[in-house]
């Protein structure tokens, strides 16, 4: 079993934690794919192996002010359902996560209870396939270096044993452009027959503006995708702004209530003293 996660998905997850004051928890969304790998052994016996890949593609943070589980670690299903209910997602719930600050990287009893309940709710047929992502944020003595230590685990249904799962962060790898041809192809320029064939096929591969047609096509696809990213970016900026303003408004109301509470207490204190 392996976990695969894109770099931008992982950084979004870690940002979610950095952006909250306290600890952070939430659901992990993605897909589970079983790959059948046919392995032809030396004795030529077909020995099929099933390799399970867990793709984590999104996350949903739980609100800090409104807990989705009881004090003992029992989830409140209607609250979880509300988080997922309106979603038009293609992704499944593949696990959950927990961020803590300056704390141990060990699963607590409450976390075990919560895991068991979530697993039963979201992954009843394959209990050993439900993920828990644990991440601890520690700061050095002088606050100069921040560390995020993290890993994925599953919990065995029978034994309750915690098993760590290998994690791969998908990324670009090598981008050093070493595969391009920079020299003329001697065997092409030497053979008159080859040159004749290539001249015939020129129009199938090269556009009228002397550009390679497939390059034009992939450029168009890539540009369209990047343009749509920019449009989506604007939508997100708006929704960030709207939610941000509402948060500040709510924060203002809390402060107002707190002030009133202080005044009320002060007033009561004066009355008490006066009596």
């Amino acid at each position: 079993m392996s976990v695969f996660i894109d770099g931008s998905t992982l950084s979004s997850l870690l940002y979610s934690h950095s952006n909250s004051a306290g600890n952070q928890e939430g659901l992990l969304l993605g897909q589970v794919i079983d790959h059948v790998k046919d392995h032809i052994s030396d004795s030529q016996i077909n020995n099929s192996q099933v390799q399970t890949c867990m793709y984590v593609s999104s996350h949903i943070p739980w609100p800090n002010e409104d807990r989705v589980y009881s004090r003992g670690g029992v989830p409140i299903m209607e609250k979880l359902a509300a988080l997922l209910g309106d979603s038009h997602r293609k992704e499944e719930v593949v696990g959950w996560y927990s961020f803590r600050r300056n704390s141990t990287l060990r699963m607590s009893m409450k976390e075990r209870t919560l895991h068991k309940h979530l697993e039963t709710r979201f992954c009843p047929h394959k209990p050993d396939h439900f993920l828990f992502f644990m991440c601890a944020d520690t700061v050095s003595a002088e606050c100069t270096t921040h560390s995020m230590d993290h890993f994925f685990v599953t919990v065995a249904k029978a034994s309750g044993g915690v098993k760590k799962i290998s994690m791969t962060v998908s990324n670009l790898g090598d981008t050093l452009h070493t595969q391009y041809k920079t020299l003329a192809n001697m065997s092409v320029t030497n053979s008159s027959a080859v040159k004749s064939i290539l001249r015939k096929f020129q129009s199938q591969f090269v556009s009228q503006s002397e550009q390679m047609a497939e390059v034009k096509r992939i450029d168009d696809l890539s540009s369209t995708l990047n343009n749509d990213l920019m449009k989506l970016c604007k939508q997100v900026a708006e929704s960030e702004h709207k939610a941000g303003e509402l948060e500040m408004e709510v924060e203002g109301m809390r402060e107002e209530l707190a002030k009133r509470e202080d005044k009320r207490r002060e007033a009561e204190r004066r009355i008490m003293e006066a009596e």
Binding site: S8, T144, V215
Partner: protein, 263 residues
């Protein structure tokens, strides 16, 4: 006088980290935009992702052109926000290696400090998995350079306190920087393709097809590893905000009710 402390806004942290996690085979880099207050606290609120002009996996260097472009961007941002924004630092990644700056890093930092003694450096250590424990670690450190002890000529690392501060929203500049990443990589690929194609004769259709296939494969890779996941991430962000907004509205109503009661 060195910076006393650095406050890195969490959405700027998101951009740096996304960039750092974009490739495990090369060091990536960028510039940090922000302000310095009267207490020499550096406030970083935006990021400029830089292209790798000279592709050497273990070297990062900012060209004069890149610095000039970045200053222009910072000035534009300052006007938009009505705040004194400027290029106030740089960041780069250390894939598979320690978070601590190398001698070259410290020397590079010392050079930038000659222009601006509040200029700071951030290093993101990424792609560090312990194969035995299957535990991964991502680190970020903040540093400047100081003169070596006893009047030595060699510069030494000076660690600067770093705080990653929450914000109520991911700012437009940070969102824009994120979605510019695939575009930057596309430009790099275009340049590589054009440089290679210049020396291939027009009649050599096979090499031209080969080069266009290399280009196609590279762009597919960028779309698959970066554009696609960023799209998913932003769509998820919309969903998170929808949930958050719904939740905040409920809270607002409750608070409104309580405020009415206490009037």
């Amino acid at each position: 006088m060195p910076a006393s402390c650095v406050q890195l806004e969490s959405d700027a942290y998101l951009v740096c980290l996304t960039h750092a996690l974009s490739t495990e085979r090369e060091e990536v880099m960028g510039l940090l935009i922000g302000e310095v207050d009267v207490n020499r606290v550096v406030h970083i609120s935006a990021v400029i992702v830089l292209r790798r002009s000279d592709k050497q996996p273990d070297r990062v260097e900012i060209s004069p052109e890149q610095l000039s472009d970045a200053s222009t961007k910072a000035e534009r941002l300052a006007q938009e926000l009505k705040r004194p924004m400027r290029v106030i630092g740089w960041y780069h990644s250390h894939p598979h290696i320690t978070v601590w700056p190398s001698h070259v890093d410290v020397r590079t930092q010392a050079m930038y400090q000659m222009m601006d003694d509040n200029f700071v450096g951030l290093i993101f250590s990424v792609f560090n998995e312990d194969k035995n424990t299957k535990q991964s670690r991502i680190q970020v450190t903040c540093f400047q350079a100081v003169q070596g002890g006893y009047g030595g000529s060699e510069h030494e690392r000076y660690e600067v306190p770093l705080k990653i501060t929450p914000s109520s929203a991911i700012g437009w500049e940070c969102l824009e920087a994120l979605v510019e990443l695939p575009g930057i990589l596309k430009q790099e690929e275009e340049e590589a393709y054009q440089n290679a194609s210049v020396s291939v004769p027009e009649e050599d259709l096979i090499s031209r097809i080969h080069n266009s296939a290399v280009y196609t494969k590279s762009l597919c890779h960028v779309m698959e590893v970066l554009s696609g996941p960023l799209m998913t991430m932003l769509e998820n962000r919309l969903e998170i905000n929808r949930i958050r907004h719904q939740h905040l509205l409920r809270q607002k109503q409750q608070l409104q009710k309580r405020l009415t009661e206490t009037t």
